[in-house]
Every structure is written in C-alpha cells, then in structure tokens.
C-alpha cells in the first residue's frame, strides 16, 4: 500500500460509561481508492467515519489524514476538506438544488464563473437535469435527492469523501443506476472515498479495499479480493456468502 489517506492509531470512543463503541482501532486506509467499512448496526462503522470529520471526537488515540494528525480545534476548516453524504440525503429544504450544492463554494468565496462551471460539470456527471436547478428538494425523488447530495459533497473537490450509507434507503432499481454513476464518478475524479455500508454486495461492487468491523473492533481488512479468498473467520465468510454470486 502506498500512502494512507486516513490512519487510526489506537482510537477509543465510548458514548456513555458503558462499553466503548470503538475499542482501540489501529488502521490505515489506502489513498485514491474506495474503502468500504462493513459491519452490522452497532459495529461502530458510522462512529469511525464521524471521527474522521470531527462529528465525533475520540476519547483517546490519534487520527491522521495525509500523514498529519487531525486538528480538531478548527473543525469547519477540517470539514471543508472532506465531502460528506448520508442516508436520506439531508438536503436543506429551504434551499434550491443549486443553492444546496453550491452553498459552501459561495462561502469559500469562489467566483461565480468557477461555481457555475463546477456545478454544471457535477450535475451532468450525475445526470441531473439542469431544470432541477431552481427546484426545492421536496419535489425530487429519493434517488434525485441523493444525487444532489453527492454533488454537494463533491462541490469543493475534496481529496477525501466520507459516505455514510448513502444508497441504503433507495429502491433496488434506483440504487443500481446510482451505483453505475458512482463508478463513473470514481473514474472521472480520482480521490479517496470511505463508504460505510452494511451491504457486502454494495461493498464488493463499489470498493477495492475492505474493512470489516464487529462490536467496535476490526475483524479483518485488506484488498477485497484478498479478504474474500482468505476469510479470517466464519463471520467474514458469512458476510461474503450473503453478498450472493458476484
């Protein structure tokens, strides 16, 4: 593996005094690839993702991005370097499609030309009709909303994208279409992507690197094909079996 896009060093996190949700994870994720964090609910995969952009602060341990320890003292600056998209899209209902996508670029002081250029490039990439520009999120379908949210995450052209089950709530046909677009998007702009999912089939289809989490610990990680060929235990085997013939 070349340089790491994100590296965890002995990271712990617990929300209450109960059992920690992240139990001393040390892990390096490859750069310019898509990594899937797979696990069932409660495995800590979303928490691990949110530790990267400071939505959750670790109790102990260090997180490095591009070989530098994260500076949690200026969270807005930290987060603007990372795209973020989640299940349910989370578009702001009072903003138009365009306003949702371009908000951060405007606040960052981009020129109108640069904003328009990037905006039109992204909506074309995700096959969003330009007529949607002035529409509000409530008039869009779930799949369209999710495309808008991906555009928003990519607007500032971040080196790192954090995706928290963005495709989970979609119907199978829409999901399949967006999967194809996502693959095209990976080819169009090379970047590090960390994708949280509970669906191994999705992980296999979209990611090259795999991290399997269970109860706050890493069960196994590595290139997907390597993990598939040499599963560490029954749990990993079962996960692949559930993914069907791919």
């Amino acid at each position: 593996m070349s340089r790491a896009c994100v590296e965890f060093r002995n990271v712990y996190k617990s929300y209450t005094d109960d059992e920690p949700v992240i139990k001393g994870i040390s892990l390096a994720l490859p750069q310019d690839q898509t990594t899937a964090l797979v696990g069932e609910s409660g495995s800590g995969k979303s928490t691990l993702l949110q530790i990267i952009n400071g939505l959750v602060l670790p109790d102990s341990g260090t997180v490095l991005v591009d070989d530098a320890a994260l500076d949690y003292s200026d969270l807005p600056a930290l987060r603007r370097r990372m795209g973020y998209a989640v299940q349910g899209a989370g578009l702001f209902p009072h903003m138009t499609v365009e306003e949702n996508i371009t908000l951060m670029a405007r606040l960052e002081g981009w020129t109108p030309t640069a904003i328009t250029e990037r905006y039109e490039y992204l909506v074309a990439l995700l096959e969003l009709p330009l007529e949607f520009t002035d529409r509000y999120p409530h008039s869009l379908s779930g799949g369209q909303q999710q495309r808008v949210s991906l555009c928003r995450a990519m607007m500032l052209n971040p080196a790192l994208m954090l995706l928290d089950e963005p495709f989970s709530a979609l119907d199978p046909i829409t999901r399949e279409t967006i999967h194809q677009e996502f693959i095209r998007l990976q080819q169009a702009e090379s970047r590090s992507i960390i994708l949280v999912t509970h669906d191994m089939a999705e992980a296999v289809k979209l990611a090259r690197y795999l991290v399997i989490l269970k109860e706050g610990e890493v069960v196994q990680h590595g290139d997907i094909d390597g993990v598939r060929l040499a599963p560490e235990d029954d749990y990993v085997t079962q996960l692949f079996a559930g993914a069907g013939e791919l």
């Binding site: 952009n53 807005p76 600056a77 989370g90």
Partner: protein, 510 residues
C-alpha cells in the same frame, strides 16, 4: 442569499421604527420635565374622580397654569404611587381611602392636620375637602328592597337568597368588604364585578346588592336605594385634593378655592350630568366653574376622529416598541440557550411565570421603578411578549431534523453560518408565528396601559367602564379588534414574503 437579506432588512426597519418612536417618547418625557407653571393632574378610573380632576385642571388653567392630564389611572395605590414618585402632582382623593388604604390607620374620622402629619414622609399633602362625604354604601333596587323588607345592612346578613356582587377594589379593602363582613358578621363570599357593570347587572336582576358611592349619579337613574349603615361601619370619605408637598404655594392657594363648594347633592348632580345627560367632563367642569364664578374655562373638545387617531397611534407605538424589544431580546436569547435543554426549560418557565402575573399587578409593580406612562407600559408589554417569542424560537430550533443539523456541521459551516443559512431560515415559520402571537397579545394587553396613564385605545375603554358608557367602550374595543386583525393579516403577508410555501407545514390551508 436573497431571502436572508430580506430578513436583515426587516430587522433593520424594525430597529429604525423603534428608534423613531423612542425619539418621540424621549421628546415627550423631556417636555414633561419640571416647570413650575406646569402641573400634572390625574384621576382614578371612576366618574367622580374624572369630574373632580377636570374641575381642578380647568381652575388651574384659568389661573394661568399649564395642565397635563393623566386621567383614568387604575386604583388608589397606582395613583398615590405616581404622586409620591413625582409623575403626577394633583389628584382627587378621599379621607377614608387615605386613612385605610394608604396610611392604614384605624380612625373613621381623622382630622386634616392628622392626615397631613402622617403624609409628610411621603412628601404628599391634602388640601381642605370639597365638601361632600362620598361614603361607601350598600345599594339595592328600591322595588326589590321594599318587597323583601330590607332597609339596613344588617338585614342582608344570612340572606343567602340574595346575590351580592362587589367591585374588585371594594372586596380587597379593609374599609370595604374585609371590615364590613367582620363588623356585620357576614359569613359568605360575594361575587366580584367590575363597578361599571354592576348597576346594569342590578337593573337586569342578575344581582341584588352591590357597593355604591353615596354621591353616585347613577343611583337615581337606576332607582336604587342605599341601605342604612346601622352599625356605622363605613368611615368618612370626604373628597379633597391630594397634592405633592412641593406643589407651588400659589397652586395650592388656587385649589383651596374649591373647599366646601361641593356638597353631596351637588356632587351627585355633577356626576349625573356626565352619566345621565352624557355631557363631557370638560363641559360639566366648565359649567360648574362658571356657576361658582371661579372663572370661564376654554373647553376644547377633541374631535372623535382625532381622538381615535391619537389613541390608535399611541396604541401602535406601545405595541411596536414592546414587540420590537421582545424580538430583539427573545430571539437572541432563544438562539443562545436552545442547545441546553435545562436552560431552555428554565427560560421558558421564567417567561411563563411573568405571564401569570395579572397585568394590573405587573403595571402596579412597575410604578416604583419606572413611574407611570409610556415606559412602564412598554416594559410590561415587553415582558408579556417575551414568552411566545422565546418559546417558539426555542421549540423551532430544537425540532429541526437532527440529520440536517449534523449535515450543517459536517459540510463545514461555522456556528454562525449554521444559524444564518440553515437553523434560522428553517425555524423562521415557527418563530414568525410566535412573534405574531406576541403582537396580538400586546395589542390586547396594551388596552390596560391606560390604567397607568399611557393612553392608547384602552383610554376610551377605561373611561367607558367608569361611565358605564358602552359607546365609549366600543370606541376603544372595536379599533383594538380591527388592529389585531390587521396585524394578523400583515404577518401572513410577511410570512409569504420571507418563507417558501412548502416550508409552511401545519398552516391553515389556502
């Protein structure tokens, strides 16, 4: 963002409006500053007090003084408080009230010297009485009293079949119900009724007995009799001018001219001229001064529309300033505290607590701090407007989808940007609804401001209640209601301007 730009513009305009109004009030209070030839005359909110106050005002004007009138103040403690705090200089008071309510002495017939000795610490003074003794009395319909063979107050004891209803002030007074029930041995609680409505209630046989004043011009109109105070409980109530001790000696000399000129019959007649003959206070007072050869007053009767416009403007001024302050304080406080559930709760409870203080009590509490007039009225209205604004701001911010709050953070918005671009725009419909509620409450409550001399549409209502004049009451009540409706419509318009239609969930359908 165009929309938030509009919001800021609105905030700016509100500030401008407040500044403009503030300027007007500042000028008004500046001109109120002490000038030896200027005297502020006040009255309480019943007919006789208005008549006596107007007689004193006109006499002072005849003698060359400039008089500011602050009529219709809500009750003895408010009026006396205004006198001692220097907000007013003169008002008509009664010896009995003075003894029982203000000085709390147990003397049914105190001398003038004794009263003035006791008033000295308050820098207040009484001048020789007008002449009449307006004592409290129990009044009944003559026919009903005859039929039931009731002639004395003692005859009322144990008559549970009789409906007794007394004015709120009478119920609370030691020289009223509190003492009377003890001396006569009543052991039941009468109902309470606004004095202005009591006679109508008696005329329609809704009640049988109420408290009255022996000089009440209404006694004849409603054919009421006064029951004999057979245990001689009710103390003397000689009407007299109550003045500030530092009132110029010459002004005191002028007011002494009224001593002994008005006996009970004369007072009842003067009261009747207003209540029954529908003459204005100004006309009745001028007539009296002419008859007594004390001078010719120039009666300027304000035109109906001019009065209405003035009252409405004053009313709007009170409401807008109070509401503006409510928004300027309520919204930022809501924004500051909403993240902490316990602090939010404490704030809403505190604001709610303020809301439970009866308006008149709150107004009375303001007098020692802010005096009378516009300022305490605005402070009180502001305190009432805080709750709906604060509560809606907090509720609106709390109930925003947590996912959207997380996204707003995660895409790198600073705290301030989160508020400006996401939280406030999303909370706006509910916040506006809170401000609208506060505005409508303010318009209603502002009618009570007349009790502490702040004017507004409450003025005709208060005077109308004192005179039992439905017309006059409606002259305040109808414009106030129309104002409330206009405000409702304006807020709907504002909503349409600043909030996208799909953001208005839970609103009335088109």
């Amino acid at each position: 963002m165009m929309r938030s730009g509009l919001v800021w513009r609105l905030v700016f305009l509100t500030c401008l409006a407040i500044a403009a109004f503030g300027d007007v009030s500042a000028n008004a209070s500046a001109s109120a500053s002490k000038d030896a030839r200027q005297i502020t005359v006040a009255s309480k909110n019943f007919n006789e007090s208005y008549v006596l106050a107007e007689i004193m005002s006109q006499l002072l004007e005849i003698e060359g003084y400039t008089v500011r009138r602050r009529y219709g103040m809500g009750g003895t403690l408010i009026t006396f408080g205004a006198l001692t705090s220097g907000e007013i200089d003169v008002y008509p008071e009664y010896t009995g009230t003075l003894g029982h309510v203000i000085l709390k002495i147990d003397d049914p017939a105190p001398s003038l010297e004794k009263l003035n000795g006791l008033l000295e610490p308050d820098a207040a003074e009484v001048l020789p009485p007008f002449g009449f003794d307006n004592t409290y009395a129990m009044a009944m319909k003559e026919s009903r009293a005859e039929a039931l063979d009731i002639h004395t107050v003692s005859d009322l004891v144990g008559r549970d079949d009789l409906e007794m209803a007394f004015s709120i002030e009478f119920m609370e007074r030691e020289d009223g119900w509190l003492g009377m029930s003890r001396v006569y041995g009543f052991n039941r609680m009468p109902s309470r009724i606004e004095h202005g409505l009591a006679y109508q209630a008696i005329a329609q046989d809704k009640i049988d007995v109420t408290d009255a004043y022996s000089t009440d011009g209404d006694l004849d109109r409603y054919s009421l009799v006064i029951l004999d105070d057979d245990k001689a409980f009710f103390p003397e109530y000689f009407g007299l001018p109550m003045v500030r001790g530092d009132l110029p000696a010459d002004a005191k000399r002028v007011l002494r001219k009224l001593a002994g000129r008005i006996d009970e019959d004369r007072m009842r007649e003067l009261n009747g001229r207003v209540i029954i003959d529908r003459k204005s206070f100004a006309e009745v007072a001028a007539e009296f001064l002419t008859q007594e050869e004390l001078g010719e007053a120039k009666v300027i009767d304000n035109l109906f529309w001019r009065k209405l416009a003035n009252n409405t403007l004053t009313h709007l001024k009170l409401t807008i300033i109070a509401l503006g302050l409510g928004v300027l304080i309520g919204v930022p406080v809501g924004v500051l505290v909403y993240r902490s559930r316990s602090v939010s709760r404490a704030m809403v409870y505190l604001a709610g607590l303020l809301q439970t203080i009866p308006s008149i009590a709150l107004l009375a509490l303001m007098i020692p701090i802010f005096g009378i007039g516009t300022v305490p009225a605005i402070v009180a209205l502001f305190l009432y407007s805080i709750l709906p604004i604060l509560r809606n701001t907090i509720t609106a911010l709390i109930s925003i989808d947590p996912l959207l709050k997380r996204i707003a953070e995660a895409i790198g918005l600073t705290r301030g940007q989160q508020l400006r671009y996401v939280l406030i725009p999303m909370a706006l419909p509910t916040m506006l609804a809170g401000i609208k509620t506060a505005a409508i409450i303010s318009i209603g409550t502002a009618t009570l401001a007349a009790f502490i001399g702040a004017g507004g549409l409450g003025e005709p209502i208060v005077t109308g209640l004192a005179l039992n004049d439905t017309n006059l009451i409606l002259q305040g009540a109808i414009p106030a209601a129309i104002l409330a409706i206009i405000v409702e419509l304006l807020f709907e318009l504002l909503e349409r301007m600043v909030v996208k239609p799909h953001m208005l969930s839970g609103q009335l359908p088109e």
